[in-house]
């Protein structure tokens, strides 16, 4: 059985941001909430999607000339993982991990 790797701090932040968000988020929004740079964010989102934690879809924009945007939301597995991360975070308050309000 494949061993599940412990998520990095950035992955935890992104998962918690998506978990706390009422709707799916755009990449730029995740970046603004978590402060993670796109160079780290997009490979991480791609990996999360490969692992089945994240679902993505295209959203047509109403503004003319702009391409459709990519939206990201957690799958059931992703929500379960984020929930467990949040409860772990509450137990270890000194970990420094805080979910930022959206």
């Amino acid at each position: 059985m494949r061993k599940q790797r412990v998520p990095s701090k950035a992955t935890k932040q992104a998962l918690i941001a998506l978990f706390n968000a009422p709707d799916s988020l755009h990449g730029y929004e995740i970046m603004q909430i978590t402060g993670i740079k796109p160079g780290t964010l997009y490979p991480m989102l791609a990996r999360l999607e490969d692992q089945g934690m994240l679902a993505s879809y295209w959203q047509e924009t109403t503004v003319g000339g702009r391409p459709p945007r990519h939206l990201y939301g957690l799958t059931e597995a992703g929500r379960a993982l984020a929930k467990s991360l949040l409860s772990d975070g509450r137990r270890t308050a000194h970990s420094g991990l805080r979910a930022k309000p959206i």
Partner: protein
């Protein structure tokens, strides 16, 4: 303008299976109104695409290397043989600097083989260019290199003595085994002449044996003329005086190791022969010129080390041989037909024209 260029670069770099992500990044760029912020965002996205590309290349190269039993065995043999060489240096009481240099060379070789395979796409043009550049470096060493007792075989790079022939000659032999055209024959001629100019009997013998194998397995006007020229240059090196004194812990060690202990001697012999062993694991019908040339190069070097004052492949003055061993892995894999570039193949007699049955691939047990 800058946004447009960056968009194009992002899309170009991202591998096909990650194009969706590149398009997602571009869509986000369009939302950012301030140019400066958009460019900073795009530059960071560029890093993400580089990462996608690198991961893709590593998975492709890594898996192809893992699937090729000969290459992976050669790699493991090199590592084990190198460790035996280091153990010998420690047991025999060699200076610490020598242990560090040999260990460092092994690490360089181990890192160089996969990274060079990532960077280099082994087309006929690349193989030919490598052979030519290598040959002229050898010739340059013979003229401008560092000389000891009339033997001009080394380049002094910082504190390191690099015997260029130990690094480049196996690579040139492999290149010639892959591609036989006018330019690779020229490379063989230049390299063979450089071995006379240096002069170096052991390396001239290595080239001679490798080129003869190519000549026998793929006889044509080019390969036979190269073999004849190498025969002449090897004969010339035998006639030239070789006054180079034996270096402690490097030359004659195949015999002196037996004086330390029978086990040390046997380990050293075993380590050297390990470099030749991988060919034994390739079924006979699947063996190609490349396999025979690679094995012959190192076998010749071991024979030379047993007969004269020449270094073994696993312990050296500057440990160049172990780098050369790993470096020759770059072009060792028979090239897949699907990777042939436009315009290649029919004009040159190359390894790619041979019907190379795929080596028995192991199941994809090592996922990268």
């Amino acid at each position: 303008m800058i946004r447009g260029v960056l968009k194009w670069v992002i899309l170009a770099i991202a591998p096909d299976h990650r194009k969706k992500w590149a398009q997602a990044m571009i869509a986000e760029m369009a939302v950012i109104e301030r140019d400066r912020e958009a460019v900073a965002f795009a530059l960071s996205c560029l890093m993400a695409c580089w990462r996608f590309r690198l991961e893709f290349n590593i998975s492709q190269t890594g898996s192809s290397m893992v699937k090729d039993r000969f290459v992976i065995l050669t790699f493991i043999s090199g590592v084990v043989a190198g460790l035996i060489g280091l153990a010998y240096l420690i047991v025999s009481g060699a200076p610490l600097t020598m242990v560090i240099v040999n260990g460092g060379a092994m690490v360089v070789g181990i890192l160089l083989a996969p990274s060079a395979r990532l960077a280099v796409r082994a087309t006929d043009q690349v193989v030919t260019a490598t052979a030519l550049i290598g040959a002229f470096i050898l010739f340059g060493t013979a003229i401008f290199g560092y000389a000891i007792e009339d033997a001009r075989r080394w380049l002094l790079i910082g504190p390191f003595f690099i015997q260029t022939s130990l690094i480049l000659l196996p690579l040139i032999a492999i290149c010639f085994a892959r591609v036989q055209n006018f330019r690779t024959v020229l490379a063989v001629f230049v390299a063979a002449f450089a071995m006379v100019a240096q002069p170096d009997r052991a390396m001239a013998a290595m080239l001679f044996v490798a080129v003869v194998i190519v000549g026998v397995m793929r006889p044509n006007r080019l390969t036979v003329s190269a073999a004849l020229f190498c025969a002449m240059t090897f004969a010339a090196t035998l006639l030239l005086p070789d006054r180079l004194p034996a270096v402690p812990f490097v030359d004659h060690i195949l015999w002196s190791a037996l004086d330390i202990s029978l086990w040390v001697g046997l380990a050293l012999w075993g380590g050297c022969l390990l470099l030749v062993c991988p060919i034994a694991f390739v079924p006979k019908p699947e063996r190609s010129t490349l396999h025979y040339v690679f094995a012959s190069c190192w076998l010749t070097l071991i024979a030379a080390a047993a007969m004269g004052a020449y270094p073994t492949p696993i312990v050296g003055y500057g440990a160049s041989a172990i780098i050369g061993y790993f470096l020759s892995l770059i072009f060792l894999q028979p090239r897949a037909r699907g990777r042939m570039a436009v315009g290649e193949g029919p004009t040159d007699l190359s390894e790619s024209e041979e019907t190379i049955p795929p080596l028995r691939n192991s199941p994809a047990s090592l996922a990268i």
